[in-house]
């Protein structure tokens, strides 16, 4: 039987593996699968923290995460990828090659561990395990946004950043109050829908969702 602390560590590791799944793979739907695994684990982690701390609101937050972020949002994005005009649904040549991306992401994870040691935040079991992981999600999400050329990948990067922030908030302050949590989820959902509309327009106007097309507005 795994103990509680084992469970915490195992879930943290799976969270990181799912995040690396976004970094190492090329296919549009691969990223969405990886994001979905990541969010399901995240919901589990929140439920676990709810169990440890005995805050019942966190169970609702966990259920909301599962419903909105692990089911509805991937569904919307899967629908978008299916309907996109572009025949090849792969990231062919990202700005940073996948091999270097993996090394870089590993460095980011190490950096997160160092950074959390510097932060003046009191430590307990859950904070020790998840604080560095939440930072890693945040930084890897940022890295995905700046190193990839497909707009869809940037959305997934944004969602990863958001997951990192969410984990961070849950771990150090046991979450916001329910009203704010619901407001945040609504913002994310609307954001995803708007960016899906933009993706459609982009693929219709430029025949691809490559952001290299988005460089005409400049001052020269």
């Amino acid at each position: 039987m795994p103990t509680q602390i084992d469970l915490l560590y195992i879930s943290a590791v799976i969270l990181l593996i799912a995040t690396f799944g976004i970094v190492v793979r090329r296919g549009f739907s691969d990223w969405l699968h990886a994001y979905r695994y990541q969010t399901i684990i995240l919901a589990g982690v929140v439920a676990l923290i709810a169990f440890v701390t005995n805050i019942w609101e966190l169970y609702i937050v966990s259920a909301l995460t599962l419903g909105i972020k692990a089911i509805i949002i991937p569904k919307v994005l899967f629908y978008v990828t299916k309907k996109l005009d572009s025949p090849i649904k792969l990231e062919t040549n990202p700005y940073v090659s996948l091999r270097i991306s993996v090394i870089f992401s590993a460095l980011l994870v190490t950096m997160s561990y160092f950074m959390t040691l510097q932060l003046p935040i009191s430590s307990d079991k859950t904070i020790d395990v998840f604080l560095p992981v939440s930072f890693s999600l945040f930084f890897i999400g940022l890295f995905i946004i700046i190193s990839r050329r497909k707009a869809l990948n940037q959305i997934v990067g944004l969602l990863t950043i958001e997951n990192g922030l969410f984990l961070f908030a849950v771990v150090i302050t046991h979450g916001f109050s329910l009203v704010i949590e619901i407001g945040l989820m609504a913002d994310i959902l609307v954001g995803v829908i708007i960016s899906s509309i933009l993706l459609f327009r982009m693929s219709r106007t430029f025949d691809s969702i490559d952001i290299k097309n988005l460089e005409s507005l400049r001052d020269d």
């Binding site: 805050i55 609101e57 932060l119 003046p120 935040i121 009191s122 945040f138 940022l142 946004i145 707009a151 940037q154 944004l158 950043i161 958001e162 922030l165 961070f168 908030a169 150090i172 302050t173 046991h174 979450g175 916001f176 109050s177 009203v179 704010i180 407001g183 945040l184 609504a186 913002d187 609307v190 954001g191 708007i194 960016s195 509309i197 933009l198 327009r201 982009m202 106007t205 430029f206 952001i211 097309n213 988005l214 460089e215 005409s216 507005l217 001052d219």
Partner: protein
């Protein structure tokens, strides 16, 4: 229950202030006739202005109002924001009738897009009004992020390549920026939750609550968190070097929306920054955040100066001028003396008024000339006498010519810079202001007094495009001579709210 909820006149006012744009948005969705949705939007934004004025008068009397168990909190600082949002919102809705009407006649937008425009317009006002009213910093963040989402919808109204590019950049950069701000907010919330018993309740994130506990916060944590807040809200407020989305988004939006984006939305984000500036000043003294504000402000001024000098596009030039003026507000705030803060808050209002006038007039001008290029737009005063005259007034005001209003607030800023012994910063500000004066002035003179192309048809657009400009022009002129008594008291009160933190250091 309802009895206690609506016990005071202010609670009724705040609720109706928030409900007016929502109801008007719903009506627009249901009615769909061109004339009717225009009238609905104009009437609702006029009602918002009236309600805003009533709220203003009761804030002047009571100094601060806390409503619905502290969920809403209004003080003089919020009142300044509400009054700018509602004034520019109303004039922008008036101007929209003419501007979008011409776009509709030219078949650039169809009926469906017109309906979407007015829905978005109303929702945009709603989300912006929610920002200064909410006491809970989490709700404030949600409202600011919602302003991004709504305005992205408004920018992508046109399906041109340029607007798709602009909305994508805007959505991505602002959201990443705001997520950094959320990170900072979580850290502040953590700092507060250590000392606060109302832990995990909705009041743990209240601004009033945080200001009370601020002295007990861990100083290192506050510094760390404030940097994230500054970068995050700074991105949305258009402070350089995080401003890269701004010229694209502001120049690709329909002109009435550009006026709202530049004149009001930037201030909303800066307002968020300001609330944390106050908390951080209460906690660790104002020195730390002041220095950072001055540095970012100077960088913004420098980048704006260079970009305006080489600019070829009218609306991009105006957008960079917004970067400049957010820089001025930030520097002036950072000088940290009463006069500087007073000047900064005055500048918030002045910039909103002048920039809206410029966007309105340049909107009509670019519709007439069918181009946004500075070189191809010349002799406006001959082709469109009134619009050209208004553009001239706005242009002279924005570069800081006396006797217009921006001269007053820039003068206050510079004198506070010297009195607080920030000589290097003040000198740099003067240098950049001179560069902007010369280059903006050159573009302005060429556009207004140059020789028009001979085949241009003469004449202004309809009364509804002229009226908002004339109103704004007279406000600019009056505010340049003297600031009305109530407004003076309001800005003084707000400056005291910001300065109290400085007194602790």
């Amino acid at each position: 229950m309802l009895d206690t909820m609506f016990s005071s006149i202010e609670s009724v006012l705040v609720v109706s202030l928030l409900l007016t744009p929502v109801i008007s948005g719903l009506l627009v969705t249901l009615l769909k006739r061109k004339r009717i949705i225009e009238v609905t939007t104009v009437v609702s934004s006029f009602l918002i202005l009236i309600q805003g004025l009533f709220l203003l008068s009761s804030i002047l009397e009571k100094k601060s109002i806390s409503l619905f168990d502290g969920i809403f909190y209004l003080d003089s600082l919020s009142a300044i924001m509400i009054i700018t949002i509602s004034l520019v919102g109303f004039l922008s809705s008036l101007y929209s009738v003419n501007y979008m009407g011409i776009q509709y006649d030219k078949l650039i937008v169809d009926r469906q897009k017109l309906v979407r425009y007015y829905q978005g317009f109303n929702m945009f006002l709603f989300t912006m009004l929610l920002v200064p009213i909410s006491n809970n910093l989490g709700i404030m963040w949600i409202a600011i992020e919602a302003t991004t989402l709504v305005s992205v919808l408004l920018i992508m109204l046109y399906t041109k390549q340029g607007s798709i590019e602009a909305s994508w950049k805007y959505l991505l950069i602002s959201t990443v920026g705001l997520s950094l701000a959320l990170f900072g907010i979580i850290l502040f919330y953590y700092a507060n939750s250590v000392y606060d018993n109302s832990f995990n309740s909705i009041h743990g994130m209240d601004w009033t609550n945080m200001v009370e506990n601020a002295l007990q916060f861990d100083p290192n944590l506050v510094k760390f968190a404030f940097i994230f807040i500054l970068v995050g809200f700074g991105t949305k407020a258009g402070l350089a070097p995080m401003h890269t989305w701004l010229p694209d988004a502001h120049s690709e939006a329909p002109s009435p929306i550009s006026a709202l984006l530049s004149g009001v939305l930037l201030n909303c984000a800066f307002y968020g920054l300001l609330r944390f500036h106050i908390i951080s000043s209460h906690s660790i003294g104002s020195g730390f955040s002041n220095t950072l504000l001055i540095i970012l402000g100077i960088i913004s001024l420098g980048i704006a100066a260079a970009s305006i000098y080489f600019q070829k596009d009218v609306k991009r030039m105006l957008a960079f001028s917004s970067v400049e003026h957010m820089g001025i507000i930030s520097v002036s705030m950072g000088f940290g003396v009463f006069l500087g803060i007073y000047g900064a808050l005055l500048h918030v209002i002045n910039h909103a008024v002048v920039k809206s006038l410029l966007f309105f007039s340049s909107g009509s001008i670019s519709q007439k000339y069918q181009t946004k290029s500075i070189t191809d737009t010349s002799g406006i005063i001959k082709t469109m006498p009134i619009t050209g005259f208004m553009f001239l007034i706005g242009g002279l005001a924005i570069i800081g010519m006396p006797p217009f209003n921006i001269f007053m607030s820039e003068f206050l800023m510079l004198s506070s810079g010297f009195s607080s012994e920030n000589f290097l910063a003040s000198a740099l500000v003067i240098l950049f202001l001179v560069i902007i004066f010369a280059s903006f002035g050159k573009h302005l003179l060429h556009m207004v007094f140059g020789n028009p192309k001979s085949e241009m048809e003469k004449g202004d657009f309809g009364k509804l495009s002229i009226l908002p400009m004339v109103i704004l022009g007279s406000v600019i002129f009056i505010m340049g001579i003297y600031v009305p008594e109530p407004l003076q008291t309001l800005i003084e009160d707000a400056s005291k709210i910001i300065l109290v933190g400085g007194a602790n250091s």
